[in-house]
Every structure is written in structure tokens, then in C-alpha cells.
């Protein structure tokens, strides 16, 4: 029999181990989400990330090694984003009728997201590159990174803040909008897409197809609007 340490060093080199671990962690996360009656606090992304973080820490594996395997899953974000076109196309008549409400939800949601995040951070004495990294945290990761680079933020820190925002938004949206008695699926989906990008959209699709379609639109529109307002607000709050 071969020495287990040799097998480990072989597996630790290739993508197979961490690709399998990523899928397995998600399968467990998704099963836990279903077992919890699809409650938003049992977010499958959150559960999978915690498991993998513990596993990486326990085996002393760095993120770069992990990502060699996980990049195949990460790559699928692009095609999945393109696929959001289908629910959008299926809901086009509905979307056309909702042009004014969407414009209002976009301007208010996007503006509040950027201004309140920077205002709170500023009150805690956060400034400079960290503040600039925080500004685009409600937009989808590739756009957020592009915006952060342009206004003097740190792209990788931005990516982490974007992820945390998405997970928190996905967890909080259902109880929050229930408490506010917002029962319009379009408003519920759109608002979470604007505030919590793709992870919010994934949550919206778990609940309702119309909410998912509007969430995808909210995410896309907010990407454009934040690119315009984030530099202004960062300049204004003295980034």
C-alpha cells in the first residue's frame, strides 16, 4: 500500500480534490437548506463556504491551491449570468409594464446602498482604500472590481465585501420584506437584486420565478448605476 502522505501530496496538486470538495460542500449545504424548510438563514452558499473554510484551515491549504480546483465551478458564473436572459425574456411583458416602478426602485435602492454603506463606515473612521473598496459592494463581483480599481480600492477586498453583502442580503431579505408587508414579487425580487446582486438573485429564484427575473434585472441595472454614482459619493465623503 502506498503511503497516505504520498497520496495526499499527489491529490493536493491537482484540481480533482478541491473540485469534488466544492461540489460535495454545496450538496450538503443544499440538503441542509431543504431540511430547514428552505428558510433563508440556511443559505446554501454560506453553509458550503463555512465547511470549505474549515477544511482548508484544517489541511493547511491556501486559497490559490483551492482555487485551482474550484475555478471550474467559478467559471460557470459567466454562462449562468447569460442564462438570466431566459427568465427576463419570459417576463418581458411584465417588465415593460413595470418600467417606472423599476426606475424608482433602482435609483432609491442603489443610492441608499452606496451612501449608507460609506456613511456608516466613515463614522467608524474607515477611509482611504478600504472605503473605496466598500463603495461598489452591492454590484455583481466583476463590475465591483472594475469600479474599485478606478476609484482607488483594493480589488480582492472588494470581492470579499461583495460576497459578504450578497450572503447577508440573501439571508435577510425574506424576513425583512415580510415585516414591511411588501407582497409584490416584482418589488421583492428587484430590491434584492439591486442590493445583493447575484447571491440575492439566487435566493429570489429559490422563492419565486417572477422575483428571480426582476432580481436579475435589478442586478444588471445597478451594475451600471453604481459605476456612475460610486466615484461621486467616494469623492464627496472624502475617500
Amino acid at each position: 500500500m502506498t503511503d497516505p502522505a504520498l497520496i495526499w501530496s499527489y491529490l493536493a496538486q491537482g484540481p480533482l480534490l478541491w473540485l469534488t470538495a466544492t461540489l460535495a460542500a454545496y450538496v450538503i449545504g443544499d440538503a441542509a437548506f431543504r431540511a430547514a424548510g428552505r428558510q433563508s438563514w440556511a443559505n446554501p452558499v454560506l453553509i458550503a463556504v463555512i465547511q470549505l473554510a474549515v477544511l482548508l484551515g484544517a489541511t493547511g491549504t491556501d486559497y490559490a491551491t483551492y482555487f485551482e480546483g474550484a475555478q471550474f465551478v467559478h467559471f460557470m458564473l459567466g454562462p449562468a449570468t447569460v442564462c438570466l436572459a431566459l427568465p427576463l425574456y419570459d417576463n418581458l411583458p411584465r417588465v415593460r409594464r413595470a418600467a417606472w416602478p423599476m426606475l424608482a426602485g433602482l435609483c432609491v435602492g442603489s443610492g441608499v446602498a452606496v451612501v449608507s454603506a460609506l456613511g456608516i463606515a466613515r463614522a467608524f473612521g474607515i477611509g482611504g482604500p478600504v472605503l473605496a473598496s466598500l463603495a461598489p459592494k452591492s454590484t455583481t463581483a466583476p463590475v465591483a472590481i472594475g469600479i474599485a480599481e478606478r476609484i482607488g480600492g483594493q480589488p480582492t477586498l472588494t470581492a470579499a465585501l461583495v460576497l459578504l453583502t450578497g450572503i447577508f442580503g440573501a439571508v435577510v431579505v425574506t424576513p425583512l420584506l415580510n415585516a414591511l408587508r411588501v407582497r409584490d414579487w416584482r418589488a421583492r425580487g428587484f430590491a434584492v437584486g439591486v442590493a445583493a446582486h447575484g447571491i440575492g438573485t439566487a435566493r429570489a429564484f429559490q422563492v419565486n420565478q417572477t422575483a428571480g427575473a426582476f432580481s436579475g434585472i435589478g442586478m444588471g441595472l445597478n451594475a451600471v448605476l453604481t459605476a456612475v454614482i460610486a466615484p461621486v459619493v467616494v469623492g464627496w465623503l472624502g475617500g
Binding site: G109, I120, V172, L176, L180, A187, A202, A223
Partner: protein, 126 residues
Amino acid sequence: MIIALSLILAFQLVGEILSRTLDLPLPGPVMGLCLLVAGCTLRPALADRLRPTAQGLLAHLSLFFVPAGVGVVAHLPVLRQHGLGLALAIMGSTVLAIAAGALAFQAVARWTGSVDPSAVKEDGGD
């Protein structure tokens, strides 16, 4: 399924090329999304061809965020340094933005009479 996947990747590729050549603020996949909506409007058969694959991918949209999510771990030192401020900024602004955005949408929908009875959540459930 391979044909559908090739088509989806082709839309992403064209979106990526357009986004970079024209220096647009939108990333390639979002451009691809816009192009695919235009494509389906021009050719409804395209939507029928892609729908099963697209639904399959979207059903597990959460999965594709896991690798990037694990990346948060690599930033724990900076996150811990500004922990309280960043945590409150993210939580506070996300709650405010979702609430304000949804209420603004709902108010203008009522005001402009564009309420959609088929898109109203039943009481109970989640």
C-alpha cells in the same frame, strides 16, 4: 445540451468582446445577457432551445458563488482589523437598500397603476 451550452458560451464570448472593445461599464456576461434577450426577441425558437439548459444552470446559481465565497477567508486579517465598522456598514446598508428599494418600487407601482395581480405573494409561506 452541448448545442445549448455552446450557444450560451458564444453569447458570453461576443458580450466579452463587445464590452472590451467599446470599453463599456458592463462586464461581458451581462452584455451577453442583453444580447441573448435581443436574440430571443428576434427568434423565439432560440428561447425554447436554450430553456432546459438555462433552467438547469439557474436552479443551482448559488453553487457558482461558492469558490469566490471561500475567498473571503483569505481576507480575514483586513476584515478583522476594520471588523465592526465594515460589518455594520454592510448589514446596515443592505437592510436599508432592500427596504427602501422595495418600498419605492411598490409605491410607484401603486401610483402609476402598474400593479400586477398575478405577481402578488400569497399570505403565509415564505
